[in-house]
Symmetry: C2
Subunit: 322 residues, 2 copies
Amino acid sequence: MSDKERLVLALAGGVGGAKLANGLAGVLTPEELVIAVNTGDDFEHLGMHISPDLDSVMYRLAGLNDTARGWGVKDESWQFMAALGALGGETWFNLGDRDLATHVERTRRLAAGDALSSVTAALCSALGIAHTVTPMSDEAVRTFVLSGGLRIPFQRYFVEQNCKPVSDGFVFDGSEEAKPAPALATALAAPELAAIVICPSNPFVSIRPILSIPAVSQALARRRVPVVAVSPLIGGAAVKGPAAKMMAEQGLPVSSAGIATAYGDIIDGLVIDSADAGEAATIEAGSVRVLVTETLMQGTEEEERLALSVLEFAAKLRPRGQ
Amino acid sequence: MSDKERLVLALAGGVGGAKLANGLAGVLTPEELVIAVNTGDDFEHLGMHISPDLDSVMYRLAGLNDTARGWGVKDESWQFMAALGALGGETWFNLGDRDLATHVERTRRLAAGDALSSVTAALCSALGIAHTVTPMSDEAVRTFVLSGGLRIPFQRYFVEQNCKPVSDGFVFDGSEEAKPAPALATALAAPELAAIVICPSNPFVSIRPILSIPAVSQALARRRVPVVAVSPLIGGAAVKGPAAKMMAEQGLPVSSAGIATAYGDIIDGLVIDSADAGEAATIEAGSVRVLVTETLMQGTEEEERLALSVLEFAAKLRPRGQ
């Protein structure tokens, strides 16, 4: 297969996902890559439609992400939040002054009747992003964390309650009726699709919402191309976020082997960190091929190096049953 | 009449109105003053409900107004606007980062079903304002500038087109059906009402929208208390805004005498600046009493001094026909 015909589909959510997505965008042309992003943690707040994972990917690809804080926009200021607090407004979700522009403009375009994928394309274009970034769906799919009989909206769990509630499970409200966004549907059906890369995102609340869309899981079940995931864990800990805590709560080993178990039949290969090399044999016994490499990404160079390793690994794999 | 029984109703709009309102609040107790503010130039923008005149009054009374710029909040920053511009958003109306919090919180409360007067009371309370600030109405009244057959929404005329179109007239859409907000209605009917003060605001687009509400004009027509206006012109020029230009376009003398003509039977007294002392005789010939004093307000002291002069002047007047 020539480079011209190659298409890679990346599934991403969260900051780790944004990093590998940026690495892939650095080594693949805009024609070779589609980045489909979790919108399960989108929510309406203060009258605005907020898409945290789309923003993480968009800001990273535009070079606008804040590396010290790990989320949001660099050179950010917080005058809006300070003034909102003085007015007695809701301040549990931090909104930077520059970041606000994204939410206001997205909300304005959605209210004008544009689909979320069209809005995302317009925002990315304005920020000079040439690669395709698409929400997983134009329809609303909303993640809830189940905890002791409660059904907690994801951002309330993640931000307001700082991931403290014990997760008994997850609900992706609306997913049964949701269709993949046009660019994702096209990529899944494309004859030139060569690999699907699951970025080092949280399997439960970043990737599963994407897989919860029936047409996506069906396409993956009958896939003709390898699916490679990158483990978000290094040495039994998540680089960022509640993945390790959730694994323990789901009764899974808190390890890259546990990640392989969490993905099950969906993946053909798993990329794990050198720190976890000892787990490779266990994972391969479960018929998932393993690539051991450095998975920590602390800048563009490491993002692109990992992206190349993942693509080379995927090129050697065949999907299950073939 | 004892101080306890005195109630003063101020009608205000714009920056000049906010200044005298602040002066009145400095010399009257919260029980003695109701400030009713023009909402004809309210508009929906980027999904937010913006009330420029309410904000001018609220920021001035809270001591948050920017004195150098003349509008908006002090210590303001513009990160949101810069980011919105980068996204290709609408940037013709300047929204500072701190100011944004007011619009977002007001919009959130309105969307939750609160009346604009309740929202205004809550915002003022949060900012430590003890005096009553009320929108003229809880219903939408929208000012349009008529110009050469066009009907231009006020903020488009005022901000986007920088007041350049020639004004043939004004329309206050919705005013026929609008009721005064509760605090304004109560003040108009209060037995202890002692005076109505029309602040040095634009007669056409700040005060007329208030008077365009039938119950307000009816109450003023059968008034038992004097109405005193402060001229917004000094030496034939407006301190700020398009009042002088509009007067010329309406065929009125661009002078405090022209202001008296613009208000007609509505006022019993007019306060004019010492620079315009020569006009006093002309105005009094039209049966409006005149007070000549310094009307330029460049700080709290001058605002309060003018407020006291206006109140003393009003106390000596009788309403027409009595």
